[in-house]
């Protein structure tokens, strides 16, 4: 069943009008010359039928009237005024036949005009629209599809779309078809390959067409090319990553003193242990137990130093965003390595309330560490600028009812006044004398790039609470 919905003016239609006139003339001749003309005049019905292909509504009506006139003319020429009852009734039958045919033709034409106008509307859209049977063979292919994919409707007709477009599905085709049969529709993103070999990302919407008994007949697929949008999104992500990198370096700059301490500490340990070690060996009776424990401490210190250097390097490195399955509890602990000394220097007590279950989330480890470090530094700075006696930071991780992984950083600083809370995450908003207002705005872009959100939890009269949530990933999903 192939029904083209977009009829084109073909060469044949221009021949139809002369043919119809020729035919009408022939019928008239036979009808007038022949004595049994009443039978022949019925053949005039062919004229409006032919005209339907070439003429508009008025033309068809006029040609029908002409045919009726010709019928009456030949009747008068042959029979004169006093015709027999039989001839008259045959003549009237012919006229009735012409009139009925004309009406049918007019009605049919109205319907098909309507249809072709609708089909033309489908051609106006920039989206690719095609209809494929349950066997995946194309039965309709609009102009948008021609423009986007490069294949003409004639070429695409009867081809399998998935093979023609080398479709890459987000899930298995079986699952998608199950979904389609269950809910009559499916939406998702597909990757298609165009005629020129380039790939595009389309947002695809499938609708199932069924017959009266509910048996699936065909699928209407509407595809919007979102490659450019996707490209723009990628560029935004890249710009965001660059900015995150720069602010990360700024943050590391702020932490220089703490980081120097963190690195110096194990180095001092290594030097002292090694020298103590020599002294234990050089004694009259070398104390090997002391030597052993000194060497062990040196090793532990060396590992500690290299761990810190690695942390800093990974934060300072400019890398692409790498999404992987991470545990937010680990991220918290890793971030604290670099901030711990800052807490000690400012004499801030740290309370950790980590969820005692894994908190898997999909994210970029470095960016999430940056997020945590920023939130912690924000809290630290809020407290050092105030004279509050109570100085503590509480980091809480939890999973809420809607299966979101939540991380909350609470400080005991002066808090956030409700007016500022609105603007807190905007770029260049700062309440600090020498702040540039990037820290929290970067936090927001990081969280949003991870499909989560970050907000201020109201805590009137007490310290500030900043919280972010990320969609939790089931560990099984990975396998």
């Amino acid at each position: 069943m192939r029904h083209r919905l977009s009829p084109r003016a073909s060469g044949n239609s221009r021949l139809l009008a002369p043919l119809a006139i020729l035919l009408a003339a022939g019928i008239f001749a036979v009808d007038t010359i022949d004595q049994f003309s009443g039978d022949v005049s019925v053949l005039y019905v062919v004229v409006p039928l032919l005209g339907a292909g070439a003429l508009r509504r008025r033309g068809i009506v006029l040609s029908s009237l002409a045919c009726i006139a010709l019928t009456l003319l030949s009747f008068w020429l042959v029979h004169g005024i006093d015709a027999s009852g039989g001839a008259l009734s045959r003549c009237l039958m012919s006229i009735a036949a012409i009139a009925i045919t004309t009406l049918l033709v007019l009605k049919n034409q109205a319907t098909s005009t309507d249809l072709s106008e609708k089909a033309q509307l489908l051609d106006l859209t920039h989206d690719a629209i095609f209809v494929r049977g349950m066997d995946d063979l194309v039965t309709y292919w609009n102009r948008g599809a021609e423009a986007i994919y490069g294949w003409s409707a004639e070429y695409a007709a009867g081809k399998s779309t998935h093979q023609l477009l080398r479709t890459v599905f987000p899930a298995s085709l079986y699952e998608i078809n199950q979904e389609l049969l269950r809910s009559d529709r499916w939406e998702g993103e597909l990757v298609h390959t165009k005629q020129d070999g380039s790939a595009i990302v389309v947002s695809s919407r499938w609708s199932l067409k069924k017959d009266a008994d509910g048996k699936p007949l065909a699928v209407l697929e509407t595809n919007t090319d979102i490659s450019q949008r996707r490209q723009a999104e990628v560029e935004v992500l890249k710009a965001q990553a660059d900015l995150a990198h720069v602010t990360r370096l700024t943050t590391l700059g702020e932490l220089t003193a703490s980081i120097a301490h963190e690195v110096n500490q194990p180095l001092a340990g290594i030097v002292l242990n090694s020298e103590a070690c020599l002294r234990w060996v050089d004694r009259d009776k070398p104390d090997l137990d002391e030597v052993r424990s000194a060497v062990r401490r040196s090793i532990a210190d060396a590992q500690r130093a290299s761990d810190i250097v690695r942390r800093i390097r990974s934060l300072a490195k400019k890398g692409d965003i790498e999404m992987s399955l991470v545990d937010l509890n680990d991220i918290v602990n890793e971030s604290l390595v670099l901030v711990r000394r800052e807490l000690i220097t400012n004499r801030i007590a740290l309370k950790l309330n980590l969820a005692n279950r894994p908190m898997p989330a999909l994210g970029d480890r470095i960016q999430l560490q940056q997020l945590l470090i920023n939130l912690l530094i924000n809290g630290i700075q809020a407290m050092t600028s105030s004279d509050n006696d109570l100085r503590e930071i509480i980091v809480t991780t939890s999973i809420d009812e809607s299966n979101q992984a939540n991380v909350r950083v609470q400080d005991s600083g002066p808090g956030i006044d409700p007016d500022s809370a609105q603007q807190l995450f905007k770029a260049f908003f700062t309440t600090k004398a020498n702040g540039i207002g990037m820290g929290l705005s970067i936090c927001r872009s990081i969280v949003e790039a991870h499909g989560g959100r970050v907000w201020v939890v109201p805590n009137p009269g007490r310290g500030a609470i900043l919280q972010f949530s990320l969609p939790r990933v089931e560990k099984d999903a990975e396998s």
Binding site: A257, W280, S293, I344
Partner: protein, 222 residues
């Protein structure tokens, strides 16, 4: 590498005298242990503390001791601790350990009387020299304290009159002048003076003057 000071302390320890004790306050457990190992390897005793309050809550040693303190400590910072100790009348010599770039802190600490300052990472000899210097200082202070308390004991054996006479003698007045001041006979002053010299164990006038200075005895002003 010279190990002189270390060995000297070690010998001292073996001679039955109370060995010197180094008190270490450092929040980093690994570094704390390393310092302990180093000090013990040269025969010093070592007490370790993770924080300043921990030290304040424990019994301090009797013998010569000094304090090795990280300038950045949790809870109470090294500098604040220094102030607290001063207020509590604990005059332990303090050696500060500091990270890179703590110059303003160092200046403050030195002004408040820190003995030495070591920037991490430092060599063992540096800290041992610093500790030995600090311990010497503590020994001297303890010696001074001991001598002073002996003098104070002796001073308590004097009669009020003898004390008065001592004060005038120490300011350099002659017997005749003192007699005039106290409205006593010169001979009586002489007797008082002889007694008090004996009681205080001063062989010469110079000895007595030094003692009066140590005891901060001055003549009453008119």
């Amino acid at each position: 590498m010279t190990r002189g000071p270390g060995l000297a302390s070690q010998q001292q320890g073996n001679n039955g005298i109370v060995p010197p004790t180094v008190l270490v306050v450092e929040d980093d457990a690994l570094l704390r242990e390393a310092l302990s190992s180093l000090f013990r390897s040269v025969g010093m005793r070592c007490q370790l503390f993770g924080s300043a309050p921990e030290l304040l809550n424990s019994q301090l040693p009797d013998g010569p001791s000094c304090l090795v303190l990280d300038i950045r400590l949790p809870e109470v910072s090294g500098l604040d601790f220094q102030t607290q100790l001063g207020k509590a009348g604990i005059h332990l010599p303090i050696i500060f350990m500091t990270g890179h770039g703590d110059i303003p802190m160092s200046v403050r600490a030195m002004k408040a009387g820190a003995v030495d300052f070591l920037t991490k990472p430092f060599r063992d000899q540096d800290i041992l020299d610093a500790v030995n210097g600090a311990l010497d200082r503590d020994r001297q202070r303890r010696e001074r304290d001991r001598a002073l308390s002996e003098l104070q004991t002796l001073l308590r054996t004097l009669t009020p009159r003898e004390r008065e006479v001592m004060a005038f003698v120490a300011t350099g007045l002659m017997n005749k002048q003192i007699a005039g001041e106290l409205q006593l006979s010169e001979i009586t002053v002489k007797i008082h003076r002889g007694r008090l010299m004996k009681k205080m164990g001063a062989r010469t006038l110079a000895d007595l003057v030094r003692m009066a200075a140590a005891l901060r005895i001055t003549a009453p002003k008119k």
